[in-house]
Symmetry: D3
Subunit: 284 residues, 6 copies
């Protein structure tokens, strides 16, 4: 069973609205290699796990739990990037004004139509997430290799999207997730090391230069790239795999730690002019 504390896993750094950034950020939420896919893939792999090697099941379940928090972080980031987009006076009159005219030009129009400036289960092209993205091959080694590829696409895509806006809300979330994807890459690479593989200097893939993503530095200094956050209320065997020397060329020791302290969930204002959502509809 699943329990919740209303805390985000990382902070939301304030900055101006940027609907074009919100559009590409959707890839990280609902894309083929985004957080919804990793979340659901590890959910299915852990629920469908076969055999007594429970440490691998605990590894999969453990990373799944963090992905839930990642999904919420990315939803919240997108909402922040959308919030307040559009000219003042949205809905304020029936004049010739068309306050969303510019806002939707480089945006995902569904952000302004289906919901009221809010995140969606779609990717950067607006394609809905789909169940075919989830791979569970029913074979431990194939699954571990596949998850390793998946976490490498996480870093690849986030570092490419990072170039698309200098918005601070946008970049902070990307930077945090880049470092965590690196940690999860280490987890799956290490799991394969326990089965005999020697990765030489292959990881991390890609071989990203942390100096290009300055927001990453504090997370690396906090050791987040070599940590596995433990969200279990009962015991877990995850440490049987996630411990000892990192499989990455960057070295260090892998450790299971407490999750971050948590950050407040921002409260989004009502948008009465867009009929969203709130009770004000009833009080007029």
């Amino acid at each position: 069973m699943y329990f919740y504390r209303e805390d985000l896993i990382n902070m939301i750094v304030p900055d101006k609205p940027d609907p074009a950034a919100a559009k590409v950020m959707q890839e990280i939420l609902g894309g083929r290699f985004g957080e919804m896919r990793t979340m659901m893939q590890f959910f299915f792999q852990s629920s469908n796990f076969r055999g007594p090697a429970k440490q691998f099941r605990d590894l999969l379940r453990g990373i799944f739990l963090e992905e839930l928090a990642h999904v919420e972080l990315v939803q919240t980031t997108i909402n922040q990037l959308l919030n307040g987009a559009g000219d003042e006076g949205v809905g304020a009159s029936g004049s010739d004004a068309a306050p969303l005219d510019d806002a939707v030009k480089h945006a995902n129009p569904h952000h302004f139509i289906i919901g009221a400036q809010a995140s969606l289960p779609v990717d950067a092209s607006g394609l809905p997430w789909q169940g075919t993205y989830v791979y569970d091959h029913g074979n431990l080694i194939s699954n571990l290799l596949d998850n390793l590829v998946l976490e490498s696409t996480g870093v690849l895509q986030k570092s490419r999207i990072y170039e698309m806006s200098s918005n601070k809300t946008f970049r902070e979330t990307l930077a945090f997730l880049i470092v965590r994807d690196n940690a999860h890459q280490n987890a799956f690479a290490k799991a394969l090391e326990t089965l005999g593989v020697d990765w030489a200097k292959l990881f991390p893939v890609p071989n990203y230069d942390i100096n290009k993503y300055p927001e990453c530095r504090k997370y690396v200094e906090a050791g987040f790239h070599n940590a596995q956050f433990n969200f279990r209320l009962d015991s877990t065997l995850i440490g049987e795999i996630f411990s000892g020397e990192s499989p990455s060329r960057n070295g260090g020791d892998l450790t299971v730690t407490e999750p971050p302290q948590g950050y407040p969930v921002p409260q989004l204002p009502e948008m009465p002019n867009e009929h969203s959502p709130g009770l004000s509809d009833l009080n007029r």
Copy 2:
């Protein structure tokens, strides 16, 4: 952030394998109105919530948390229905035997091909789950009405699927979920009552006769149809809505309670002949 205790929200009653039942049970997992949809719909509606009426956000988040446990329960039920399907001697020889020949006849062939007899994010027709199923209209009243319809389809579909097999594993899970969908219907109906609606004798929809689903009785006697399980580790305002008289014609009082005690997650055996998953691949 999300925390986990390795317990199922309801028991898995043992019975024989039944791949045809597993096939239709997929509707409850990955169907248009199944548990993945309710889980993701309430996840998005709560993360995208606007305005200060936090009791509604807590209601949405609270039901989302239970849906996570429902998804795991249905995955586990499907796995149990598939486990051991096929003739003995699967993979045992290269002779003329084709031990899965019969097993796949009325089954979802992907249960035996993509994974190793395990659940998938698809529906009873094998169609992959998709993000278009998630509705978040960005308007509180529309969302509450929509969620009410969704929970009524939950009861409708489960009571229809119940007729498709007398397998005990299958029926126990369906019966538990019918009663819980009734409770969630009460939650959304009550939320609309707080805004002024009087439902008269409309709910529950459909007006199911509990005598036809004898496995339901114990859950109703335990009051599960009028309870909201609380999975929050911090405080919640859910009781501001979910309390007082039930909106259902069946009466009773709504109460927020602790979750069920939890039931053990069954360990699935390895299937070395299907290369699934386990470490045995390495030791031969």
Copy 3:
């Protein structure tokens, strides 16, 4: 604007339930080359029509109107094939009985889960109809050629599906539609003849032998293969194209006629045990 008289365009011949036949009949409703596709394709082609050659627009609009009635005929046929499927005692008790167990074996399970034994916008494999099926090339000649192919797939698929059950409800509807697809083939072939093409002995495609489909005979004898039914309440130029010698090797003269007299829409009984639909839910 569109007007309606509650009459089916052809009769529903009574016979026993046959859910396996209902499953394959869905191809004719929601398949890539089914009635929903022809209906929507001709709807878009006529609304998007460019230029002053209004006789072609009237031809497209006219066939679209008949396709609306075809969609309703196929929906009704599927409902008739499903109605009463399943053992007696569906929902009648909570015993070990699983009255839909057999019914869904060769059926589309969604016929029994999503609705209450009723038609769906899907094909024989259960795939949902989609907008990509609609072709409107924005060029009259391409469209006419394309529509000709479409009407030939109509006959091809219906004559193949005809072999899949000897149910009389099923075959009567197929037979009527085979003859009407032949008429629409004649319409588009004739339209291209007015632009100079000589088809020699090419049509109808396929060259079906009417003796194999005895239910067709009465429709051919009534001249339905060379008739265009006129559903316009105002005037139409359709006769400028649809007149004179048939382009088919079977000869005869094309004529615009009144629609058939119409046949009663059968009233489907409530299925209270499947909670469908009716008011009885309220009166218990």
Copy 4:
């Protein structure tokens, strides 16, 4: 059977081409909650109707008939918004000119590629319409609740899209449809009132302020928000439901009336340079 008179249900107000507006208008045609969905949803619900309460079937069929005219109105509006887009000289030479270069920048490129500047069965993101959008739960109460949500999303989305351009062609069609969606909301809310529900002041959802949509005023003054247009050539029981006091907080009496007088369908010019469609291809 379905009959047609070549009249639009509302006028097309002339204005300049606006392909960006045409792109977002597609949501109203082919979106998840657009006119194609309401049309097909009510088509299936009425054809699949069970039981003797024919007044509900007539209500569903009656609104379906109007949705057919809405689909044609939106197709025509999109065509008008696209017509003449692009620089002069499209196709006029093989020089360096690229007359569609700007036109497609904020447009749906398929408007210019698949057809010749014409409407498509897709939404504002270019996603094709699909059959999964159609909900027919096989239970009258669920269907009525669901249709009510659907008509509320109609107003929500149209009022949001209204902010995206001040083009007059665009806004007039949206305003007419907002008022008609309000009427259909009243129809389904009233149908549930006949089953005992008291809506208090809940409707319309959203609680839109007519002063913000000045084009709406004349339609409200004509009573279109409380009228059900009757497109039946035979008798109908729709008045058994649609009569008496409106369920909306805005009051008034519900009445079944004749449809609007009808407006001419604009003739689109040929676009010979885009090979669309016309006969001119043959005469060069």
Copy 5:
């Protein structure tokens, strides 16, 4: 079996990057009527061919072989249009620079996220190619008519896309393919002539004016519109159909010829800043 010589079927003319042109060019690769569809459609039609009239099978197989080379040509064209897009300094620093900010504005964002500025199996709206596009009706005449329509949409769409940019890389590839689609139209039209049809002056569809597409001229002068390139290493009966007078109003004689000499495949530079692909990741 399939053999390869590393040569493109046409030249890549150098010009500046143009990601907006790359986006619309995707229609020609992965669109409903693009080269992937023609390739796969003719692949299936030739492998599934029934009966002894092997000259038709050879025709289908022969055009399929050319489509393989077309797919590679369009992939390469898109890569060339993307290569170097974005400001200098992509990935060069962690400063406020967001070098892809502008580049993605009118581009397909997936070109910059999923791969490293490279072609994708999607269309101009970013919709993934799908198997439903492939039509094989299992009837020779229907297939020939359908292929004829398909090759006419090829010319239609390419001539419309041609107007969207004056980029030389873009237009040269389009011009070559327009002429080849004309040749394939001649092939299928001729195949139907051998069965008795007289096309009068119908083809080519559309009746494009070569003077508007000056890059086409050299290909017409080389006779490419009336040539079928032979990619068979063994003998073929294709000449039994593709010979004699052209069915096009433009006249000339059809001839089976050697393929073009071939053009070098451009080597794309590594993009180490986008981690793409190369070995440099390992050497830092």
Copy 6:
């Protein structure tokens, strides 16, 4: 450019029709991990290749070429399994006979409706192949790891499907492809070895026991598991990677060889009763 010799890459062993086997075999053709996916994935990865390390591009292109022949082999196998399915007398009369009644019971109905008993671009559940299956991450290491997973799913799925029928046509094709997937696994594992990875005893994944698939033995004895067939008409650098000791625990040396001699393509008979395809339609 691509050249062809009409030879299959392996023999078709005759046996009886088996439409249920044809249905599951579709997974190998059009499934998420089937031959169409490997073909298109390696096609895109090789055309989009960046950088001077041409030996990797030649490896990708080389395996792509073999996948083309695999697609044709699987299409032909499915056709053979379908050919002659159905009772005698298909289409032979208009009597009560329904000769396809049984044939479609456990079959993909589209095999009998869309084409005339022929292969389709779909999977074992009838889901159409889609472009989202193709992964090209734009990073060499990610791509190599991904391709390795893909080839391991090839063996996994084929060995599971092997259990579903003892039909000889079916099993021979599966056995050949299992061995070839093993070879391609060796190719990608070896490519990563050249970058420093030591796989220990990990491969092949899964660790299949050749004694369970007796048809495989002859292919292993011929060394097909350690061979790369060369389909290039010009030179290739593939041997720079594919040579030396096998990365598999089964040992042996990798060698680039000539393709197999080739096997005749069976000629499928016409099915005039199903209007497929042939010229006989014209001659009646």
